[in-house]
Amino acid sequence: MKHREAKPGTRRGEPPRATAKPKGAVVADTDQQTADTAADKEPLTLPDESPEALYALLADRGWGDGLPIVAPTRARVDAMLAGYTGDPDEVIGTLAPRLGEATPRILAVNAVMAGCPADLLPVLVAAVRGLVAPEFNLRGVNSTTHPVSAMVLVHGEAVERHGFNAGTGTLGPGNRANATLGRAVRFVMMHVAGGTAKGHDGGGLGDAATQGQPSKYTFCFAENTAASPWPAYPRSLGIDAPSAVTVAGMENPHNFHDMESRDPAGILDKAATVMATFGTNNAVVSDAEYFVVLGPEHAATIAGAGWARQDVQSYLFEKARRPAGDFRAHFQSNLWRPWMKALRDDDLQPMTDHPENIRVLVSGGPGKQSFVVPSWGRTRSVTVPVA
């Protein structure tokens, strides 16, 4: 029984596909949605690796982000897997909304396509373990109208080992490891999880982001532990691994600069004004996180005054506020803690319900610049050790 009009890309006897137009695709049995992908049954062949041949493949399958890719040949995928010591066919998780099975082997295909160096797979696997954690809420992140992207943050020995840039220009462009790890995570969210926008070659539907945002192409940077006056970020979470990756469902970063302050308050008051806007989902979801990423110079000024990471968190919790009456005037629909709803109109309501939701770390190079990253809301960051 069907109630509705036929849709483009849907044929009788074939379940709708979230990721691609069905031309040339294998036809799955409606009652047995466990059919292998086309490539598992019949290898895809191309005449050559020219940009024209690869772009034709991407258009036919509804794959990719619009930028050129590296051809995922068996030899390249095998080379990517060679540096991975775990089971290449372990099902790390089924990724919503498509419920595609993420295995290191499939992740390796995406890593090759994204241009990752051959040794990067363990870091990508750790990132995807973060995506499948329930608190990340991938189903929501991958389907919301909000532009949320998966921010990928690399910590520890992996930074140097794989050539990530934690210094000047960490958010890019220019560094292969940063650029391609973030892109590979996005490819996994598109190809395996089905988070493709409707405008994606006319075929996708999983990702309903009204406009999207530039960081959906790639959003990866590294913690500059050497330049940080505080313990490494994973340590602040009780994670004592040599390397780790954090994934978080966030908006584009918003920069703030302070060229003159000699004290923590001058710098952090500016961060607080960036945080205290009604334009982010943090305003309506009180347990949402912020990442406050300080440049080494700002961090040195703050730590030089004797401030620990927790002092930064507490100060921002105190200063990033707006009158409770203003909150109420703007949002009838909200997810605020009960105690926040009890505030009087002229009380100052914090932008988040606990200082620990304000995640503080150091990244980048010289300069008086830092940035704030707001959250999508109903998602929590996940930090995973790199195996």
Partner: protein
């Protein structure tokens, strides 16, 4: 010629089926599962009451879940199972709320509760796709023009009144909409 591998991976979800549809709604208990999106509970409640008035069913429960961007909590589902035979839920009028409302819809149908998912026109196709991805391509999706947020009470009442007949058809499995052409 070169050989290329697919980046997609297998899809492992089994297909699912609708709960049995009642022939008549008389005497049935209807619950409204509200995701707290602006006006979602209002229009779903209005439709439920109009359907009840028409058929002799009763609206026994109007219950919210914590967030549109999360699944219905187990205790909410338990109350629905205890207090209702049919559910109207939604809204599917944004991305994550569509995804999670579809999730709730499919779960409730698997628990034996016929469930109508209210979507707005801009998100009906997404709701259909997501229900299909969750293994239930024939989910009972009720499309109203929308948007819900920002619409007046009169506009919402008109959308509700226009939706009653289709809601009846969806619950009883007799919706007059055309079959999907081959």
């Amino acid at each position: 010629m070169i050989e290329i591998l697919s980046p997609e991976g297998r899809v492992g979800a089994p297909s699912k089926h609708l709960a049995p549809s009642p022939e008549l709604l008389a005497g049935k208990r209807i619950a409204v599962l509200d995701n707290l999106k602006p006006h979602a509970g209002q229009i779903q409640g209005a439709i439920a009451r109009l359907v009840a008035e028409r058929t002799g069913a009763t609206v026994t429960l109007e219950i919210p879940k914590v967030s549109a961007a999360l699944p219905a909590e187990p205790e909410v589902v338990e109350r629905i199972l205890a207090e209702a035979d049919l559910v109207i839920t939604g809204s599917a009028d944004c991305g994550s709320c569509t995804s999670w409302s579809a999730h709730d819809t499919v779960e409730l149908e698997q628990l034996g509760i016929p469930t109508v998912l209210l979507s707005t026109a801009g998100f009906t196709e997404l709701a259909e796709q997501v229900c299909a991805l969750y293994g239930l391509p024939e989910a009972r999706i009720l499309s109203v023009p929308g948007p819900l947020g920002g619409s007046s009470d009169a506009q919402l009442d008109a959308m509700a009144a226009d939706a009653v007949e289709r809601t009846l058809g969806l619950f009883t499995g007799t919706a007059a909409n055309p079959e999907v052409p081959a």
